[in-house]
């Protein structure tokens, strides 16, 4: 199946990526080419096959390792916030959300 211009606008909204109206046709055309490529795997008969969620699955059948739920990291707020575009008093600054 092929995407429509409406689909592209919906995906762009979900992905939080602004697409200019002038770019839309090219984006649509290339997305449809990619979906055309992946289409061939949809016809494969996979009844009774378990999805393989991660590449370690064959030797890690129990899934990912969990550690005890306890605080181990020390406070790193200052170094982590030093790379943020806008902070004040230890808070990340964003445009006002609630009037």
């Amino acid at each position: 199946m092929s995407l429509t211009p409406d689909d592209v606008r919906r995906l762009a909204r979900l992905a939080r990526i602004a697409i200019e109206p002038a770019e839309e046709a090219a984006v649509l055309e290339r997305l449809n080419r990619v979906l055309g490529l992946v289409e061939q795997m949809r016809a494969v008969d996979t009844r009774g096959i378990e999805p393989m969620w991660h590449a370690g699955d064959p030797h890690l059948p129990q899934g990912q390792r969990l550690r005890p739920d306890e605080v181990r990291e020390k406070d790193q707020r200052a170094p982590y916030q030093s790379v943020a575009p806008a902070v004040e008093d230890g808070l990340y600054l964003v445009p006002k959300v609630i009037e």
Partner: protein, 486 residues
């Protein structure tokens, strides 16, 4: 000096024929002269490198040096380093300096390597040509009109051009092996979970794995000894006993069962690639290895499956780039959602946006089962094909890529043609298997051809041994690219 392998340099350092400072100076001088025309580095830090080299020499004087102490290396610019910015080849992170080092970076630093710089790459490791970088395309040292492969193309070009004896890369669908093949160097993608992903900016978490690039398989073994190991901070890191990746370098090839999948030798392989790989197979046979013809019936589905799973995971992982916590932020916006949308539109390049949109689609309501879950099921079929194959053979041989390096610009407008480069490399990461690429000759126009060896889980040391024996009998891996003479 720069023509030497890591193993040779390690010996020269140990016997005090050279010092780490001298070696690092030589690397930096050659980078100054050659790197710009290849565009293979994003950052170079001479001052830090020389300080690290001095520490390496002091460590050696104290008698505490290991085999990698004093060896200059470069990291792909997706491994977080505190000392140099980590851009991922993206405008989004063009000025980002990580507050911490990746586990691989720590491990190689602990071993005493000297970090000289960070290598250019396809943005967020999404690409097969190293053209999709905010910092411009990387050029192939064998012919500067051509791509070096990708996404670790800067690392492969830097090693090929003898700028550094070794570099790191990451491999999600072939991003270590494919550029290694196209640049005539050796590169390994380890079994998933062997190398920690901590501090490596995530692209597709269920596939991503860091691996070394160097001239020879013996060098890859030395690097793996430092890079591999359990790390609690990566929940998929495997807690296994430490191993010596060089322990099978002298393995006997007699009786080795060479798996030759029909699907890896079919139509669509360039004649020069086919001939070089066939010649390598004949060499192994001459050493007493035995051919096992086999089939990987679902191999052709690897690319379609990969281009569902990798974009799905990427769309989720890259949602963190929102202009709030780090990286680029748009200058103008109306509200919070507009801030996100404009930041991401400006910060990401076309291929990254395309993959995020594809990933968003295959995970969206109504399509999740048909695309994402279906892809994960076909992925298991691909892994089962390999498991059955490894009951009959010890190693699977084939070309790393269907063609040698292609011209810059040739495939940038056609994502499907670009994705089909990955046809032989995507299956190993989908199944979580180790695989490596070594040079096995040249095509009719003098471009390097990669031979891919894929093994069962945790067979890295065996693969490296099989590759090393070939490199003892051939000198493809020692040829210096014609456009970057020493």
């Amino acid at each position: 000096m720069l023509a030497s392998t890591v193993s040779e340099l390690s010996g020269a350092l140990a016997s005090r024929q050279i010092s780490a400072v001298e070696l690092t100076r030589a690397c930096v001088a050659r980078i100054d002269r050659v790197a710009r025309e290849l565009n293979c580095f994003i950052s170079v830090d001479e001052e830090h490198a020389l300080a690290a080299a001095r520490r390496a020499d002091e460590r050696r004087a104290r008698g505490e040096a290991g085999p990698l102490t004093g060896i200059p290396i470069a990291h792909k610019d997706i491994l977080c380093t505190r000392s140099l910015r980590t851009t991922c080849g993206s405008r989004m992170l063009a000025d980002y300096v990580s507050p911490y080092d990746a586990h691989v970076v720590e491990q190689l630093e602990r071993a005493g390597t000297v970090l000289v710089g960070k290598c250019n790459m396809d943005e967020f490791a999404m690409g097969s040509s190293s053209e999709a970088s905010h910092f411009g395309p990387v050029r192939n040292p064998w012919d500067k009109r051509l791509v070096p492969g990708g996404s670790s193309g800067g690392s492969a070009a830097a090693v090929a051009a003898r700028l550094v004896p070794a570099a790191t890369g990451t491999d999600t669908g072939g991003s270590v092996r494919q550029p290694a093949g196209m640049c005539g160097v050796s590169g390994l993608k380890p079994t998933y979970g062997v190398v920690s992903r901590y501090g490596i900016v995530a692209f597709a978490s269920s596939l991503d794995q860091a691996g070394p690039l160097a001239k020879s398989a013996a060098d890859l073994a030395l690097l793996m000894n430092a890079m591999a190991g359990f790390d609690e901070r990566d929940s998929t890191s495997l807690d296994r006993p430490k191993e010596d990746y060089g322990r099978f370098l002298d393995r006997d090839l007699r009786g080795l069962r060479l798996g030759l999948p029909r699907e890896y030798f079919g139509d669509g392989i360039a004649p020069g690639v086919r001939a070089a790989v066939a010649e390598a197979v004949r060499w192994y046979e001459s050493q007493g290895a035995r051919r096992v013809e086999l089939e990987l019936p679902n191999a052709g589905l690897g690319v379609p499956v990969y281009y569902v799973i990798a974009p799905a995971e990427a769309s989720s992982n890259l949602s963190r780039f929102d202009g709030v916590r780090y990286g680029h932020r748009a200058a103008e916006y109306r509200d919070l959602v507009d801030l996100y949308c404009r930041t991401r539109a400006e910060g990401f390049g076309a291929e990254v946006k395309r993959r995020i949109l594809v990933g968003t689609y295959v995970l969206s309501h109504g399509y999740y089962d048909a695309y994402y879950v279906q892809a994960q099921k076909v992925r298991r079929l691909i892994a089962r094909d390999f498991a059955q194959a490894f009951e009959r053979c010890d190693v699977i041989l084939g070309p790393t890529s269907p063609t040698t390096a292609f011209p810059i610009g040739a495939k940038v407008d056609d994502p499907v043609q670009m994705y089909l480069n990955d046809i032989f490399t995507v299956s190993a990461p989908l199944a979580g298997l180790p695989a490596l690429s070594i040079p096995c000759g040249f095509d009719g126009v003098g471009l390097p051809v990669g031979l891919q060896l894929t093994g069962s889980y945790f067979s890295e040391a065996c693969l490296l041994g099989i590759a090393h024996r070939y490199q003892q009998a051939t000198d493809w891996h020692l040829r210096v690219p014609r456009e970057t003479p020493l």
